[in-house]
């Protein structure tokens, strides 16, 4: 918790933290300390980049939609996600960050979205599990921010985002039920998607609390729940859903502990080419960060879809 100590050592930082703890809402840059602004910009970058990168991933997967209506539904979701990215970036613009730089000025590896959105979604089952799992993770994270954030403009902006994410989630979950019920190949494809996407989302929530090195976002009340609490919230929704439709997941509820327990060495190694978790190869979180930093197989392609390909017909990164 060294970062916390550094912050409270500074007079202005300590004063702001105390004000926030007493219920103060930060409304403008004038109210902020450098530490607060930095933590807020980090949070907004991750939020905006995650929304932005879900766009190309979902767009490519929409090609596998079984009907024209379901394809339109996914395209509408892509539209929503790009709108959510714009909302996060718009807030950052008011804090002096250039949106054009955010979108066109960065290299693919510089985006801060989770590793899950560096992966290809290759069929309809993966598309709907992305809605059921990834968008559920988004809701867990953002509804916590919505309820707890000390930054007024973000709290208000999330009203729209929360509403739309719930529609994406409903889309994902109702299709998961449908594919499970259909049986046969549809059901097998669903199970295969869940097999790699469930552990992928668990990892998304980041370092477990006992290893968490800093919590600027908690200190400034930019969020309310810890990583482990958020992971539990996510499992409390997804594990019962999968159990109810007869889809296996590597986690279960432990009544004695009163919490969900992961049934494999967490974290462990992942083979992105085979889309397979190597449960017999436990690794450290430093190794997880290395894997994330190296980025996944679709990172470049997705960013090029947003920016334009550098050597493409219309050129890329024109700003």
């Amino acid at each position: 918790m060294t970062a916390v100590k550094d912050l409270t050592a500074d007079q202005a930082e300590r004063a702001l933290i105390e004000k926030i703890q007493a219920g103060f809402t930060v409304e403008s840059e004038e109210d902020m300390t450098p530490g607060y602004k930095k933590a807020l910009l980090t949070q907004l970058t991750v939020q905006g980049d995650t929304e932005l990168m879900s766009g190309p991933a979902y767009y490519l997967a929409a090609r596998d939609a079984p009907t024209i209506n379901s394809r339109i539904a996914v395209i509408a979701i892509v539209h929503d996600e790009l709108g959510h990215a714009n909302i996060a970036y718009r807030l950052m613009e008011d804090l002096g960050v250039d949106k054009r730089w955010l979108i066109y000025g960065r290299e693919p590896h510089e985006f801060k979205h989770p590793y899950g959105f560096d992966q290809p979604l290759e069929n309809w089952a993966e598309m709907v599990v992305a809605n059921g799992f990834f968008d559920r993770a988004g809701i867990c994270l953002l509804s916590d921010v919505h309820e707890n954030t000390s930054y007024g403009p973000l709290r208000r902006a999330l009203v729209k985002v929360d509403r739309e994410e719930i529609l994406h989630l409903r889309h994902g979950e109702s299709w998961m039920r449908r594919l499970a019920k259909a049986g046969g190949e549809a059901r097998e494809a669903l199970q295969r998607a869940v097999d790699w996407m469930f552990p992928m989302t668990l990892e998304w929530f980041g370092l477990p609390d006992h290893l968490k090195r800093h919590s600027d976002q908690l200190v400034y009340r930019l969020k309310g729940k810890t990583n482990d609490q958020l992971r539990q919230t996510w499992m409390a929704a997804t594990v019962p859903l999968c159990e109810s439709i007869g889809i296996k997941v590597p986690a279960h509820y432990d009544a004695a502990k009163g919490e969900y327990v992961i049934d494999y060495p967490f974290p462990c190694q992942y083979d992105p080419e085979a889309k397979r978790w190597l449960f017999d190869e436990p690794i450290t979180w430093d190794q997880v960060f290395e894997r994330w930093k190296a980025r996944g197989p679709m990172n470049q392609r997705y960013v090029e879809m947003i920016q334009g390909k550098a050597d493409g017909l219309f050129g890329g990164r024109r700003w």
Binding site: G83, N86, R90, E93, P153, K160, E164
Partner: protein
């Protein structure tokens, strides 16, 4: 230029601030606002250049609208 976006859900409700857009001119601001803030079937929507807003409270010396 930054425009603040206001919309009304139905005739019985107040006009409320729903967000902001960055646009080159009024026409584009209208298009961006309509395309981005489509979470409701608004009966009324308007955009106001942020520079036209006159703050009354002290806190409003800088825009606190955000989104």
């Amino acid at each position: 230029m930054i425009y603040e976006v206001f919309a009304r859900k139905d005739h019985h409700q107040e006009l409320k601030h729903v967000g902001s857009v960055d646009a080159a001119d009024d026409e584009l601001a209208k298009v961006y606002a309509w395309a981005l803030y489509d979470e409701e079937s608004w009966v009324e929507m308007c955009v106001v250049p942020r520079s036209a807003i006159i703050p009354v409270t002290e806190h409003g010396r800088v825009p606190v609208w955000g989104n």
